[in-house]
């Protein structure tokens, strides 16, 4: 019951339209500073985010980066921020809960990609190796084709 009460409070907020700001409180009992910082980063394109630490709650102020913004939009901005904050907090919980399996999967993927190829004979250095002649011819031929393919500047016509 207590949790439900905490999770669904009426959001109280203050709007200062002149400053394009909306302020609201969040509880440190529910949200970590890590989640708050990540959510602030996600919102950094839309708003400047300020934090005031009080005793039992934090006051978050969002200052919109839009030139003009209506009061209703500021309220939505605050709602979206809280959604993102909740997402980050939940992500932290899920991440912590499933950390072992997630780390294992990630490690396996990165480790495999780092490994040596199954068949890896030394690649020839084409400037000195067995295919030098073929490589030289290919480079020369391509260079000529590039010159032929590119007409004088401004003369290229595509039908």
């Amino acid at each position: 019951m207590r949790l439900l009460k905490l999770l669904a409070p009426q959001m109280r907020h203050e709007i200062d339209s002149a400053k394009k700001e909306v302020s609201f409180r969040v509880s440190p009992l529910l949200y970590s500073m890590d989640s708050l910082e990540v959510a602030a980063n996600v919102f950094s394109k839309q708003a400047e985010i300020f934090l005031e630490e009080g005793g039992r709650s934090w006051t978050v102020t969002l200052r919109s980066k839009k030139k003009e913004i209506a009061a209703g939009t500021l309220e939505n901005l605050a709602g979206d921020f809280l959604n993102e904050l909740l997402n980050q907090e939940y992500r932290k919980m899920v991440g912590g809960f499933n950390r072992k399996i997630s780390d294992l999967i990630l490690m396996q993927a990165l480790y495999s990609a780092k490994s040596e190829p199954t068949i890896m004979p030394p690649l020839d250095d084409f400037s000195v190796g067995a295919h030098k002649k073929e490589m030289d011819e290919l480079m020369k031929r391509t260079q000529k084709e590039i010159e032929r393919f590119r007409p004088a500047k401004g003369a290229h016509v595509v039908k």
């Binding site: 996600v42 959604n83 068949i119 490589m135 391509t142």
Partner: protein, 514 residues
Amino acid sequence: MKQSLIERTSGRLTQFLEPVRVNSTKVGAMNFRRVHGRYLITNDAGYFALLTAHNFKRYLEGRIREDEPLYQELQDKGFIKGAKIDSSALTKVFREKNGFLWCKGPALHMLVVTLRCNQLCQYCHASVVGPSRFETDMSLETARRTVDFVFQTPGQHIGIEFQGGEPLLNWPIVKFVTEYARLKNKTAKRSLTIGLVTNMSLMDAEKLKYMMDHRVSICTSLDGPPEVHDQNRPFLGGGPSQKKVVQGIKNIFEVCHSGKYMRCNLPGALLTSTRFSFPYYKEIVDLYAELGLAHIFIRPMSPIGYAKRAWPQIGYTPQEFCRFYEKTLDYVLEMNRNGKPLIEKMASLLLTKILTRRDPGFMDMRSPTGAVLGCLAYNFNGDIFTSDEGRMLSHEGDDSFKVGNVYESDWEGVLTYPTTRICSSASVLDSQPLCSQCAYKPFCGICPVYHYETQNNISGLMPASGWCQTRMGIFDVIFKKLQDPANMKIFNGWLEIERRHLEALEAVGAPDAA
């Protein structure tokens, strides 16, 4: 206006309709979802079962008797806890389904050999430039270094794909990369496949012969009948382009059917669905079938790069796309029932995972994402990106997804680049809210670039994500269709064709292929 929570989440959260006392000593690890009147349960091995509401409740309460066939099925699939669970068999299945976790580096290398293009597509992600802007052509030296880099990556399979712009506008470099890669592979002995993505407008007999002789597969863009295609993809300066694409496809078929070349040289086509496509779903499918194309790929468009700006004109909601997807898939299935073979590629890729529990190599649907680990994109100037979507963002001035440059980087540097690690860790579904509890988790994946672009959040906020809504909608359609045995027969036929096609491709890519 008040909106119901269920509507807001597009019905993606399944709720219990009545209280159930779960027997945790019998119910194995699984996620569930209500689909078309049944309960779908899945587990990490990739097994699934579709249960009636009655059986689902009995399953959760541990009331399915051991002598029932359903019990045996659920036990074999790892849905029931107990001593009889075969962990090593489940591990083997998990490993096959997630084969990409054991892949030794990227298999797909997308080379943007030029940004120049002679078309101005409505949604072009690539933010192309006009045909006279030669400074956006890949140079010979950059091409050489790019191929050298590609062969530095340790994967046994290397797929090189020419993209653009219109790659044929830098024809000498397309030829050079093809020949240099083949020459290099004489020593490297990898399985090498080369493909070209072209709008066909510059394809002539000489170029076509070259492609065939050098085993370069050709894929084009075909958005449907002229009414749709010409609106989506006009030539720069105006003018219809659909006729040229259709003629180009016919020409390739003609050459292939001459008997001189292998069937795997047959052309492919990609459909980009805009809102203009929706009323023409039948005409689009009819055209693909009429041309003899093996696949039609109904893909959702992403609001990334140029398409983001054009989204109000050409875009759609996830729900609109899913309705289009279902109608089109239904029509394709009807066509198959009438004896005309045509495979819907999105369905076949997902069904490969769902029904065969094998990895089809679909970069978008992996956990972690295929970015870097499965594919890399190389820009004309040698810049290396996590994926083609990451490269598209760079044209908007955002290099967040750049992970190196062929002049400066080596494979280890790209793999250990912070962006690579961040993209990988942000896309593991097990640490993702909503995804970790989703019934589609064993088959799904998320795209960091999509979420960065649409939500400024590399991990994504799934309840509001268009990506998630679209993918869940597609999965809903697939699992709905799977409940009809007649569809199941067609789907199994598709998977058999795909298996044979893959074998043929592997033969073409083999180092000693003729």
